[in-house]
């Protein structure tokens, strides 16, 4: 991982808690770009993050064709912006990461009596290629 000096995932934890939506940019195999918002980028470990796969959409289709993804996350404390270059690695449908993401989704849904509506299909794991403070 090549990251900007002194910027580590652990240092930008508040930005990975989904307070402010994340902007993600992907491109299809024929280089057609797609930019959208997602709710949260989850911290996995010092060199990995996860994105929730709930619905099959353009972002999911693009990363299955072209694994590179750019995410712009915002720190809700200082409002600093960070650009993360990510590479899709795998989709997990069980395990610790999947469970942690699923339980968060279910906790929010059950508090609104919408249990089961927001099914997590998979936890998409991305390697962090670089982090750049914007």
């Amino acid at each position: 991982m090549t990251v900007e000096e002194n910027v580590h995932l652990e240092d930008i934890m508040p930005a990975l808690q989904g307070v402010i939506p994340t902007i993600v940019a992907t491109a299809s195999l024929d280089h057609t770009p797609n930019v959208t918002y997602i709710s949260q980028v989850y911290f996995v470990d010092e060199s990995h993050v996860a994105l929730s796969y709930q619905f099959f959409n353009k972002t999911i289709r693009n990363v299955r064709e072209n694994p590179m993804l750019t995410a712009i996350i915002t720190c809700p404390v200082h409002y600093d912006l960070y650009k993360l270059l990510l590479r899709y690695e795998e989709s997990q449908t069980e395990g610790e990461i999947f469970d942690a993401m699923e339980i968060q989704l279910e906790a929010l849904a059950s508090a609104q009596k919408k249990e089961g509506i927001f099914k997590l299909k998979a936890a998409d794991i991305y390697r962090v290629i670089s982090i750049e403070k914007m």
Binding site: V19, F43, A107, Q112, F118
Partner: protein, 430 residues
């Protein structure tokens, strides 16, 4: 660069030191022999003081494992104690149901997002306890011996209050907390069991004392009387006075009746005290049943010239156990005869009301004063009172009436006063 690393290390050391202090303080509180709510409130105070958990609570699962109830809380304007949340609902309920910790922030925005993408638009946020507008919430299940003992929840209106480190630290604290809470609950339940056992032993001791008291007082009398009568028989026999021997026969018969009645009551009562009575419920036609009971006391009634009136419809029937019901009515009637002066009256009537039969037994007897009324159905200080013609009793009769009425799912009340007679009211299911 070196300074930055040193600063980071120093900050980490400071944090570790602070956490050690918290663990030390919490451990100290956990080892104190105080009530569970007091212990938990102190722990929440420490967590606020040392860890800035300004709004927190501890919940325990109900025995049905369907709900959690708040047993301690800290920092809320309104007391949260006693509030409940169903298993599986919201962050607290889901953390308990899944036995996994949950740390969320930006809760309200995420819920708005969910409401929007689910196309339902409206936000219908269910939060039965704590801060209605919490933005950050962490819930940590406290598990000991694979059992969910309690749940620690902290929350805030601010964003990003609980870091990953905070979460991990709370998880570290969760283990000793869980063990301590489980021990306290076990300790409390042991105390409760000891109290129950002590009460049971006291009751058994009273039973034993009463038993010996009855044997020493009530059995000795008739036995002594038999002894005297035997000597008199022998004496008159030697003198050849057969007419006097004949007159003694009535006294022997009466003594034998009294002794038999006493032994029957004593046996029934002993069985009821050791839960040895097995009721067999059957349909009992009340009029025929009461006529049979009354026939047993025909001579006693005649001897005191007491009139007994039965006003019971032929169609009235009870669902009851024949043996215990007969014992109850035998004692009620013999009690009424005992305390009704010569020439008095006893009336028994019964009516059906909805699903119960109400039976009244009234007499024109001496009545019972207020002081005796309070202790009428208990063993405490209870001694037999002689009847209007010095008839003897066991002191067990009315206790048996009450216990056996209740065994038949009935109720017993009475209205009495000195000089105004006594009226017993019994209700039984039909």
């Amino acid at each position: 660069m070196e300074m930055t690393a040193l600063d980071k290390l120093s900050a980490k050391l400071e944090t570790s030191q602070r956490k050690m202090n918290i663990i030390s303080k919490v451990s100290f509180e956990l080892n104190k022999l105080v009530s569970l709510p007091e212990k938990l409130n102190t722990i929440l105070d420490i967590l606020d003081d040392q860890f800035n958990l300004s709004n927190s609570m501890i919940l325990v699962p109900n025995p049905d494992q369907q709900h959690l109830t708040v047993v301690a809380c800290h920092g809320y304007a309104e007391d949260q104690t006693g509030k409940t949340v169903p298993f599986g609902q919201g962050i607290v309920g889901l953390s308990a149901a899944r036995r996994k910790h949950i740390n969320l922030t930006g809760i309200r925005r995420k819920q708005h997002y969910m409401a929007t993408v689910s196309l339902e638009g409206e936000l219908n946020f269910v939060k039965p306890l704590g801060l209605a507008d919490a933005e950050s919430q962490v819930a940590v299940p406290l598990i000991a011996n694979a059992e969910l003992v309690a749940l620690l929840m902290a929350e805030s209106r601010e964003f990003c209050v609980f870091s990953k480190e905070d979460e991990n630290f709370l998880i570290t604290l969760a283990q000793p907390l869980a063990v301590s809470i489980q021990n306290s609950i076990l300790y409390d339940s042991m105390e409760e069991k000891i109290r129950e056992r002590t009460a049971e032993l006291q009751r058994l001791n009273e039973t034993k004392n009463k038993f010996f008291s009855i044997i020493s007082h009530d059995l000795r009398g008739p036995v002594t009387s038999f002894q005297s009568l035997t000597r008199l028989f022998s004496h008159y026999h030697k003198l050849g006075q057969t007419d006097k021997i004949d007159s003694l026969c009535d006294k022997v018969d009466q003594s034998a009746d009294n002794l038999n009645h006493l032994l029957e009551n004593l046996l029934d009562w002993s069985l009821s005290q050791t839960n040895g009575i097995q009721c067999v419920f059957e349909k009992i036609p009340l009029l025929a049943f009461l006529q049979q009971i009354a026939s047993l006391y025909k001579e006693s009634l005649a001897a005191k010239e007491i009139t007994l009136t039965l006003s019971v419809g032929e169609s009235i029937a009870l669902q009851a156990d024949q043996h215990t019901l007969a014992t109850a009515f035998r004692n009620l009637l013999s009690n009424a005869i005992k305390f009704t002066p010569r020439g008095g009256a006893i009336a028994i009537d019964a009516v059906r009301k909805d699903n119960v039969v109400v039976v009244h037994l009234s007499d024109t007897g001496v009545g019972i004063d207020k002081e005796k009324l309070c202790a009428l159905f208990t063993l405490q200080g209870q001694r037999t009172t002689c009847g209007t013609e010095k008839e003897k009793g066991t002191g067990l009769g009315l206790i048996l009436v009450k216990e056996f009425t209740e065994l038949n799912h009935g109720t017993l009340t009475l209205d009495s006063g000195p000089g105004k007679g006594t009226r017993f009211t019994l209700t039984f299911p039909t």
